[in-house]
């Protein structure tokens, strides 16, 4: 009734490979697009800049990690390190006098080169051992960042990002930052939506399911693993650079520490592996909910007159963030994307499934 369908019944391959299997999905995507475009005029700029903008950029980053973890099935615990490479290369390029458009691509390419180093670990081991190796690489990268004054300015220094300018326009307004983030997130989303329709996407899925079996089918699993790492690292690099250019305005090693790697992985897994809409949900949940709950707790305790210590309040978001991961994994290990899919599938055939019973 809601989807005006009684189920999805493909009769040819063309309809099966459409991005939107159901017209209602396409309509909803168009609706979200319009909301996204109109957001600066609807949403107060405080919320736009402190909630919407980080949400969109982190979603782009999470989609990049989803490419390598969800599609290609390679565990990656060093994603923040790759983002750092992109951010620092782009900023240094701009300070050197390169225009921002090219600097962003330089950042992405530099991240892709370094990110491919992670892939060499993936050629040798997989699963748990790959996760541990990438984790160790993240620690090495942290160390390099904090100890090389040439890159980051030293352990407690931060690097000022030059003013963002695209297509000859200086971007300084909140609306401008928002549209940059929105555009990048849209670009990555369109890329990911189309990925499953391409040979690349199918090869990645084959490698994920069983790399030996994929090799027997003629899919060069080494090549596709490296390609997956490089592509996702490119997305990571540009996202990292944009995050610094439009949100932090400063680059510091702590912004790309191991905790951030874990956070992005949590976004991807809570959202659902290889689910695009799930990544949007996962980022929203991990990024926004702990802060919201914390301010709710603070205001409730004030209302009730109960004193909660400053330190306690400072650590409640962390506890909630951990609890969210645990709870989502217990309820639905396939993440929020799967939960959404369940609701959608139920509504799709409602009320016809009621008649049959």
């Amino acid at each position: 009734m809601f989807y005006r369908l009684s189920g999805v019944y493909h009769t040819d391959y063309v309809s099966d490979s459409r991005i939107y299997g159901v017209p209602a999905d396409r309509n909803m995507a168009a609706f979200c697009l319009i909301i996204g475009l109109a957001a600066p005029f609807i949403i107060p700029s405080l919320y736009l800049n402190s909630y919407m903008l980080p949400w969109l950029i982190w979603t782009a980053a999470a989609l990049g990690l989803n490419l390598v973890t969800g599609w290609a099935g390679q565990l990656h615990l060093g994603y923040a390190a790759v983002m750092a490479v992109g951010a620092y290369s782009a900023i240094h390029a701009v300070r050197f006098g390169v225009p921002w458009e090219i600097a962003l691509i330089i950042g992405g390419l530099a991240a892709a080169v370094i990110g491919s180093l992670f892939a060499f670990a993936a050629l040798r081991v997989k699963g748990l051992y790959l996760a541990l190796t990438t984790l160790a690489m993240q620690f090495i990268m942290d160390w390099v960042l904090t100890h090389s004054a040439a890159i980051s300015g030293g352990s407690h220094a931060s690097l000022q990002a030059p003013t963002l300018a695209l297509l000859g326009q200086q971007i300084t307004s909140d609306t401008g930052y928002y549209y940059v983030a929105f555009g990048w997130c849209l670009l990555v989303t369109i890329f990911m939506l189309n990925l499953k329709r391409t040979g690349l996407g199918r090869a990645l899925v084959a490698v994920r399911e069983k790399d030996y079996a994929a090799a027997i089918l003629g899919v060069n699993s080494f090549y596709y693993k490296i390609l997956a790492f490089a592509t996702s690292s490119f997305i990571a690099g540009v996202s990292g650079a944009l995050l610094v250019a439009t949100f932090f305005f400063l680059a510091a090693p702590e912004q790309f520490s191991v905790n951030v790697s874990i956070q992005v992985l949590a976004m991807v897994i809570v959202g659902g592996l290889s689910s695009i809409i799930g990544s949007y949900f996962g980022v929203a949940l991990i990024l926004l909910v702990p802060g919201l709950v914390n301010s709710a707790v603070a205001s409730i305790s004030q209302g009730l007159g109960v004193q909660i210590g400053v330190e306690t309040l400072a650590h409640i978001p962390n506890a909630i963030y951990g609890a969210l991961i645990v709870i989502i994994l217990l309820i639905e290990p396939l993440g929020l994307g799967k939960l959404y899919g369940n609701v959608r599938d139920y509504l799709m055939v409602w009320p016809f499934d009621q008649i049959r019973k």
Partner: protein
């Protein structure tokens, strides 16, 4: 470079390494029984130390009462964590299990900090800080005590694996399904391994809490513990002890040479490098079981 100085570095490194082993034994116990890499072991260690302090300072008990009580509490907590969080994920891809332990790690750390605050507390174990001279070698007393605790625990586990419960755990570690079919309660065995790992975490928390103070930095032992566990082979307790000594010596001697070159802080670098090299060259570690993968 005098030989005595080098020997002193090596001996102290070996003892620090044994303290890493103390931490790593917890990881190995859980991995052995259920193939779950417990990334929450750092948070458990931290929590163990805080629970001991809660009994000792909060309720005013002497430490020799507080530590066993904390061990009992953590034993139950370990069982509980396995029952509530991990059992439902059995058979899921390793990435979800990994994420679950990471989530537990974040949750336990956040909750501990929210309850007890982030200021560093001291353990007051009563080990003197007087230097101990063994011939010409200078040795830290607390590290010596910690190494002895590690070796005693190692011996205790060796004995434990000869008891009925221990043999069951060995059977579970060897083959999940086969032990199921001969009537071993696999769930209870895995739960027991979590409980024992939590008790080990109390021991590690007490010793490390005495050395560096009880605060959030206790959970940072995770990387070193992982490196030790992987180097020794993730499913070998003997491996954890031997690898701890090796890593400790490499780290202490290596850092002494590298620190002046790179401007300090090379310890983490060495540990990460050892971890990567181990995985690249010999993923199953020194004493671990080499699994063959079939398509």
């Amino acid at each position: 470079m005098e030989l005595v100085f080098l020997a002193e570095l090596a001996v102290n490194g070996a003892m620090t390494g044994l303290l890493y082993s103390l931490f790593a034994i917890g990881l190995v116990l859980i991995y052995k029984a259920s193939s779950v890499p417990n990334l929450a072991q750092g948070a458990l260690t931290m929590l163990g130390a805080y629970v001991v302090l809660a009994f000792a300072d909060g309720l005013g008990m002497p430490l020799w009462v507080a530590i066993p009580l904390a061990a009992i509490v953590m034993f139950g907590l370990g069982f509980g964590i396995e029952r509530v969080a991990l059992r439902r994920l059995a058979g899921r891809p390793v990435i979800m299990i990994l994420m679950m332990t990471l989530g537990l790690d974040i949750f336990l750390r956040g909750t501990t900090m929210a309850i007890w605050g982030a200021t560093s507390a001291s353990m007051e174990l009563g080990v003197s800080y007087e230097p101990l001279f063994l011939g010409d070698l200078f040795i830290s007393r607390i590290h010596l005590v910690g190494s002895i605790v590690t070796l005693v625990l190692f011996g205790a586990f060796m004995l434990f694996f000869r008891t009925r419960a221990g043999i069951k755990l060995k059977a579970i570690a060897d083959d999940y399904t086969a032990s199921w079919s001969v009537g071993i309660s696999v769930e209870r065995g895995v739960g027991l391994s979590w409980a024992l790992a939590s008790v080990v975490a109390v021991a590690a928390g007490v010793i490390w809490g005495e050395i560096q103070g009880v605060d959030q930095s206790l959970s940072l032992l995770l990387l070193k513990g992982l490196a030790v566990a992987v180097l020794g082979g993730l499913d070998s307790i003997l491996g954890a002890v031997v690898a701890g000594i090796i890593l400790g010596i490499i780290e202490n001697v290596g850092a002494n040479f590298l620190d002046p070159l790179v401007g300090g802080g090379s310890r983490d670098l060495i540990v990460a490098a050892v971890l990567i090299l181990t995985v690249m060259i010999r993923p199953h570690g020194l004493f671990g079981r080499h699994d063959i993968e079939r398509v």
